[in-house]
C-alpha cells in the first residue's frame, strides 16, 4: 500500500497552541533562536497514521491524523522509538498518561520542511459499497448468506493536491459508485474516507454541509444535470447562495456570511468568463435549452468551480459531447484544475483520453482496483491483462495499423456473485489455477505502479 498521510493546520496554528511540556522530545539546540519545527509522522496502534509538525519552542504540537480527529494532541516519545499519544490534554510527565492511551509505533523525523511529502487532499482506505439485494421470505429463511452487489470492494488510494486522478473501466466496474461514495453522496458500507485530514466516513449530512463547499461534481449529461427552469445565472449562483462565503473576522476566526446580490452576480460573471462563455452578460439570463451541449457542459463546469473547491469528481464529463467539442471542455477543465490547484477524480471509460489528461490512472474491474500507476506508463506498458485488453480494444485512427492482440471475449460478469479468486480470471487469457483460488493483492511492482495480478507476485 501507499503510505497514507494527512497534514492539516499550518505553523501559525502551532504557535497559538497552549503551552504544555512534552516529555522526551529531541534535545533543543541551544544556538537555534528560530522556532524550529520538526515534522513527525507515526502510525498508531489501530493503524492510523498521524502526522504533523512539532514546535520546539512551545514544546507542544498540534497533530492531526487519519481516523483521529484531533484538535489538539501531544505525543510523548523519542524520535525513532515507540511513543505515546495524548489527546486534548497537556502531558506534564509520563505518569499523566492514563492507561490505554494510544501508542504509536515509530516517530519519523523530517527536519527540512521541503522534504515533507505533500499531504493528500483525500485518502481512501479499503472503501466498500455493497448494495444489499432484496430477498424474498424463503430466501431469508433458508439461505445463509446475504446477497450483495459489490459495487466498490476494498479500494484504497490517495489523492494529492492539484492531481488529476482518472478512474477507468467498463460500465459496471464501479467507477461512478466510487465517485459518489467519496463525495459522501452515497454512504459507504465499509472502509474510511479522509478529506482534508478529517474522517468523513460517518459524518452526518449536517456535519458534511460545511465540507461540501470544498467538494463538487460535474455530471455526464449536460442535458439532464441542469434544471431547465433555472437561468444560467441561477444555476451557477446556487452553490454561492447555499454556502455563502467564508470570511475571517478580527480574531482570526472564520465564519460564513450570506453573499449580497451584486457580489453573487460578480462571481457568476467572473466564473462564466473563465469557462469562456463570453461576454457573460449574454449568457446570464439564458435557459439551458437555449444553449448547445458544449455550452451547457461549460455551465456545469462553472457551477462546480465557482466555490473554488479543493476536490471535484467529474463523472464522464465529455462522453456525451461531440468529438470536436470534447477537447475544448477537457482542456478547459485541465486549465481550471491547474489554476485553482483543485484535485479531480476524472471518471472515464475512454482510457486514451485519460492518458492525455490524467496524472495517474486507476483501472477498476467489478469494484476492485486492478492497476494503478502514472497515466503514461500505465497505458504504454500496461501490466494487468485487463488493462492490456482495455488498451488494445481502443480503436486507432490509422487504417493500416492492425490490432496486435485479439479482443478478449465475454462481458463483465455480474457484481452480485463475482468470480472467485481474481475477478478477472473468467476472461483472462493467462488465467491459471491460482487465479481461481486466491485473490491477488494490489502490490507495487515498479515505483508507484501497482498491480493486482498473480503474474507479478
Amino acid at each position: 500500500m501507499e503510505p497514507l498521510s494527512v497534514r492539516t493546520g499550518n505553523s501559525s496554528d502551532l504557535d497559538n497552541m497552549p503551552k504544555g511540556p512534552v516529555a522526551d522530545l529531541p534535545p533543543k539546540k541551544a544556538e537555534s533562536k528560530k522556532d524550529k519545527k520538526r515534522y513527525v509522522r507515526f502510525r498508531t496502534e489501530d493503524g492510523a497514521i498521524v502526522e504533523g509538525t512539532v514546535s520546539e519552542k512551545n514544546a507542544s504540537s498540534r497533530l492531526s491524523g487519519i481516523g483521529l480527529k484531533f484538535n489538539k494532541c501531544y505525543f510523548v516519545g523519542e524520535i525513532g522509538k515507540v511513543g505515546r499519544l495524548w489527546v486534548n490534554r497537556a502531558v506534564r510527565n509520563d505518569d499523566d498518561i492514563p492507561a490505554g492511551l494510544q501508542r504509536f509505533e515509530k516517530i519519523e523525523e523530517v527536519e527540512d520542511d521541503s522534504k515533507i511529502p505533500p499531504s493528500p487532499v483525500m485518502s481512501v482506505e479499503n472503501l466498500r459499497k455493497w448494495y444489499p439485494l432484496k430477498r424474498g421470505f424463503f430466501e431469508t429463511v433458508f439461505s445463509k448468506d446475504e446477497m450483495n452487489v459489490k459495487a466498490v470492494d476494498d479500494v484504497s488510494f490517495n489523492l494529492s493536491k492539484g492531481e488529476i486522478f482518472a478512474l477507468a473501466g467498463e460500465s459496471g466496474s464501479g467507477k461512478t459508485t466510487l465517485g459518489k461514495v467519496v463525495l459522501r453522496l452515497v454512504t459507504p458500507s465499509g472502509g474510511r474516507i479522509f478529506f482534508l485530514g478529517q474522517d468523513i466516513t460517518k459524518l452526518s449530512d449536517k456535519e458534511m454541509k460545511p465540507l461540501r463547499r470544498e467538494m463538487q461534481i460535474v455530471f455526464q449529461d449536460p442535458f439532464e444535470s441542469l434544471d431547465p427552469r433555472m437561468t444560467i445565472k441561477e444555476i451557477v449562483a446556487e452553490p454561492l447562495r447555499v454556502q455563502g462565503t467564508v470570511e475571517m473576522d478580527e480574531s482570526g476566526r472564520s465564519r460564513t456570511r450570506k453573499m449580497g446580490e451584486r457580489e453573487v452576480e460578480e462571481r457568476v460573471k467572473k466564473m462564466l468568463s473563465e469557462v469562456e462563455l463570453v461576454p457573460p452578460e449574454e449568457f446570464l439570463y439564458r435557459f439551458p435549452h437555449e444553449m448547445s451541449g458544449g455550452q451547457r457542459q461549460r455551465v456545469a463546469v462553472a457551477r462546480a468551480f465557482v466555490m473554488n473547491p479543493s476536490f471535484i469528481v467529474a463523472d464522464e464529463p465529455v462522453s456525451m459531447l461531440d468529438v470536436s467539442i470534447r477537447a475544448e471542455i477537457v482542456n478547459l477543465m485541465v486549465d481550471l484544475v491547474k489554476k485553482s490547484q483543485a484535485s479531480i477524480i476524472f471518471i472515464s471509460h475512454d482510457i486514451a483520453l485519460a492518458k492525455h489528461i490524467a496524472d495517474r490512472i486507476a483501472v477498476l474491474y467489478l469494484g476492485k482496483m486492478m492497476e494503478l500507476g502514472a497515466a503514461e506508463t500505465l497505458v504504454d506498458q500496461p501490466l494487468h491483462p485487463y488493462t492490456q485488453a482495455l488498451v488494445s480494444a481502443v480503436p486507432v485512427p490509422d487504417p493500416e495499423s492492425k490490432r496486435t492482440k485479439d479482443v478478449i471475449s465475454g462481458e463483465i460478469p455480474s457484481p452480485v456473485d463475482p468470480p472467485s479468486g481474481c475477478r478477472f480470471h473468467t476472461r483472462c487469457p493467462y488465467a491459471h489455477e491460482r487465479c481461481v483460488m486466491e485473490e491477488p493483492a494490489l502490490v507495487e511492482v515498479e515505483k508507484s505502479h501497482y498491480v493486482a495480478c498473480h503474474l507479478y507476485s
Binding site: S292, R326, A327, D350, H356
Partner: protein, 317 residues
C-alpha cells in the same frame, strides 16, 4: 457498375420555420463487398443519409433532389410497395442504441423470425427456426438463447442479436448507424470485429456511420467526411487518414486522443456546427476554419479530385 450509386442526394426536413437542410447534394458509390464509412459530428446529416437510402425518413423529411441507384434501380422514384422489397432483402440497417431497439415483450428469436416470415412467403416454421438458430450462431450467440427476452441479454449480445436480425433476409448491403456507440470499448471492439468478419465472409457491402473516426479507420476501405450536410472529403481510407486535406478532417483527426504516442494537449475545432436552417453561405465550414479566405465566404467549393481516389471540397486546393 457500382452496387449503390448516390448522386446529388438532397434531403430536407420541413419545419414551421422553413427547411432544415440536413443533407445537401451528396454523391458517393459503394461497390459489392466494400465498406464505406460516413463520419461527422452530430447534426452533420450522417443518419439522414442512411434513412434516405431506405426511404424511412421521419415525418417532414423529404428527398428533394438526387438519385439513389441500387442494383440499377432508382430508389427515389420507386413506389412504396416495391421499396418494401428492397428493405431487409436489399439493404438492411442496424440502428444505434442496442438497448432500446428491440421489443421487450417478444422473445429475441421470435423477433428475428418475424423478419424472415414477412420477407419470404411460404417458408415453413421449422425452416424459420433453423434459420434463426443459424443466424444467432453467425453472430456468436448460443442458438438456445433464442427463447430469451431482450432484457436477459447483455448490451453486447443485444447488439449482436440486432445484427443477426438485420441479416435475416440475406441482404446485399448492411448499414450500421453508430453500431458501437453506447457500448463499452471491449464490447465495441468485439462488435466491430464481428462486422468485419461478416463483411468478408458474406461478401456484404457496408455503410458504417459513426462520429468516431477511429472506428471507421479500422473497418472501412472508403471514407466520406460530412460537415453540415455536405461531404467535404471523400476517398480511400488510407489516403484520407494519412493525408487529410480538408481543415475539418484535419481538426477531427487531431481532436482524437490517440492511445499511442506521447501525452499532448488535445486540440479542438473552435466554434459550433452551424444551424442548418440558415447555413453559412458558400463553404459551410468557413466560420470555424483556421485557413479561411475571402473566396470561402463567396463561392462554394466543389468536391473535386485532388489525387486519384481522394477528393476534397476546399478552396485551398
Amino acid at each position: 457498375m457500382a452496387l449503390l450509386e448516390v448522386q446529388g442526394l438532397t434531403t430536407h426536413y420541413r419545419i414551421l420555420r422553413g427547411w432544415v437542410r440536413a443533407v445537401e447534394n451528396i454523391s458517393f458509390t459503394v461497390e459489392q463487398g466494400e465498406a464505406l464509412g460516413i463520419a461527422g459530428e452530430s447534426g452533420s446529416g450522417k443518419s439522414t443519409v442512411a434513412l434516405s437510402l431506405l426511404r424511412i425518413l421521419p415525418q417532414g423529411g423529404y428527398i428533394r433532389k438526387g438519385k439513389i441507384t441500387f442494383q440499377g434501380i432508382d430508389l427515389t422514384s420507386l413506389p412504396e410497395n416495391e421499396m418494401r422489397k428492397i428493405r431487409w432483402k436489399g439493404i438492411s440497417i442496424v440502428f444505434q442504441g442496442a438497448m432500446n431497439a428491440m421489443n421487450p415483450v417478444y422473445k429475441v428469436g421470435d423477433q428475428i423470425a418475424e423478419a424472415i416470415k414477412l420477407h419470404e412467403k411460404g417458408v415453413t416454421e421449422a425452416d424459420v427456426k433453423e434459420r434463426v438458430a443459424k443466424l444467432l450462431e453467425t453472430v456468436g450467440i448460443e442458438p438456445s438463447r433464442a427463447n430469451n427476452y431482450p432484457h436477459e441479454f447483455s448490451g453486447g449480445m443485444r447488439q449482436r442479436a440486432l445484427i443477426a436480425m438485420a441479416l435475416a433476409a440475406n441482404p446485399v448491403m448492411l448499414i450500421g448507424d453508430e453500431p458501437g456507440t453506447a457500448l463499452d470499448v471491449i464490447v465495441q471492439a468485439q462488435t466491430l470485429k464481428l462486422l468485419r468478419d461478416l463483411k468478408d465472409r458474406l461478401g456484404l457491402a457496408m455503410i458504417l456511420i459513426s462520429h468516431d473516426l477511429s472506428i471507421i479507420a479500422e473497418t472501412c476501405e472508403k471514407v466520406a467526411i460530412m460537415y453540415a450536410g455536405k461531404i467535404v472529403e471523400y476517398g480511400d481510407a488510407v489516403s484520407i487518414f494519412k493525408n487529410p486535406l480538408h481543415p475539418y478532417t484535419q481538426g477531427l483527426i487531431k481532436a482524437f486522443p490517440s492511445i499511442k504516442g506521447a501525452r499532448v494537449r488535445l486540440s479542438s475545432i473552435p466554434g459550433q456546427p452551424p444551424d442548418l436552417l440558415h447555413p453559412p453561405p458558400a463553404c459551410r465550414f468557413n466560420p470555424r476554419c483556421p485557413y479561411v479566405m475571402d473566396i470561402c465566404k463567396k463561392e462554394e467549393p466543389l468536391l473535386e479530385d485532388h489525387e486519384k481516389g481522394h477528393s476534397v471540397a476546399c478552396h485551398l486546393y
